[in-house]
Amino acid sequence: MADKRITIRATRFDPDKDTAPRLQSYDIPFPDESMVVLDALNYIKSHVDGSLSYRWSCRMGICGSCGMTVNGTPKLTCSAFLRDYWPGAVTVTPLNNFPIIRDLVVDMEDFMQKLKSIKPWIIRRQELPLGAGEHRQTMDQIADFRQFSQCINCMLCYAACPVYGLDNEFLGPAAIALARRYNLDSRDQGTKIRLPVIAHSDGVWECSFVGECSVVCPKGVDPAKAIQQTKLDTSVRFILPYGNRE
């Protein structure tokens, strides 16, 4: 069906001209069943309207750059197939809960600051020289944190989280999941250093367990699980004196 077409409605916002975002429709060819929403946006940019702005990079669900809201659901546009929406129109809007810089591009600054605040790296009380060898782990020890290490920082979980939408002070799903990833890592000794951030009232306790963060995650990470388990762990650490020791 060479004549097959699909309507893409994309958010347009020029900070120098517009006071608020608006939707613009594009009727484009849909010749290939393997086309994804990102392909449609690239077609529009290449053949219809070169001014359309959006982020993308790898096209294979790894970089996490092309997260947008597709028909109301946060998705990686490189993994959202047009065939799942055709013959209906596809409405592409920026990720919810973030300030819009231009068109489909959102301001990631708040997310980046939150990510940095949980110190997402292995913290050791005392660094050993390289000659001391590797920090060896068993497969079970890796299994403890592996799931939470799959996050690609696509921010879909923040866009799906109404708690973050209502209160931007909330540390948010990805940052907490990443904190848990390091806290569960047998090589890490930084739990106490991360505690003031994750156990803060704007940390895990702000979450009321909507759970949509885990539903939209494209990599199968379960941030809601990380948050609830962190709540339990921090409570146990608070109640039991020996829990405060590392």
């Binding site: 109404p162 367990f209 909507v210 949509e212 699980k225």
Partner: protein, 136 residues
């Protein structure tokens, strides 16, 4: 943030969409979440009423009468349904929250959830038996 980046950031005018009041109607998942949270309200109302009944019973038999009006029965049945839904969702989530290991192997979530429902059933039977026993 460096001074240069700060200036560039300040120059960029962004648009921050407000969260609509009806956000919880946008998705089925959000709606069910709100229902789950709301179920605590009729539960609390019913418990407040129970406290009031205990207070009345404490003032002597002359002040107490068993509530059996149709509106009250309907209200209680509705509260019971909310309580069951609240308990169901709460116990189902236990598999996500609880995590522990037995002999260095993590206990499967399904087993944790099953144990919670089992404990709920046993507790309900025991409490029911005690109440019926005292009622006779």
């Amino acid at each position: 943030m460096t001074a240069e980046a700060d200036t560039a950031h300040a120059r960029t005018r962004t648009y921050k969409p407000a969260m609509p009041a009806g956000w919880w109607l946008r998705k089925r998942h959000y709606f069910l979440y709100m229902v789950r949270e709301f179920t605590a309200l009729p539960l609390a109302l019913w418990l407040l009423w129970l406290l009031f009944e205990i207070y009345r019973a404490g003032r002597g038999a002359s002040h107490f009468y068993a509530p059996s009006s149709t509106p009250f029965v309907i209200f209680s049945v509705i509260c019971l349904l909310f309580a069951l839904y609240h308990s169901f969702t709460f116990l189902r989530l236990a598999g996500v929250i609880l995590h522990f290991k037995v002999m260095d192997k993590p206990v499967p979530s399904a087993l944790i959830v099953a144990s919670q429902f089992g404990a709920w059933l046993v507790a309900s039977i025991v409490i029911g038996a005690v109440l019926i026993g005292f009622g006779r």
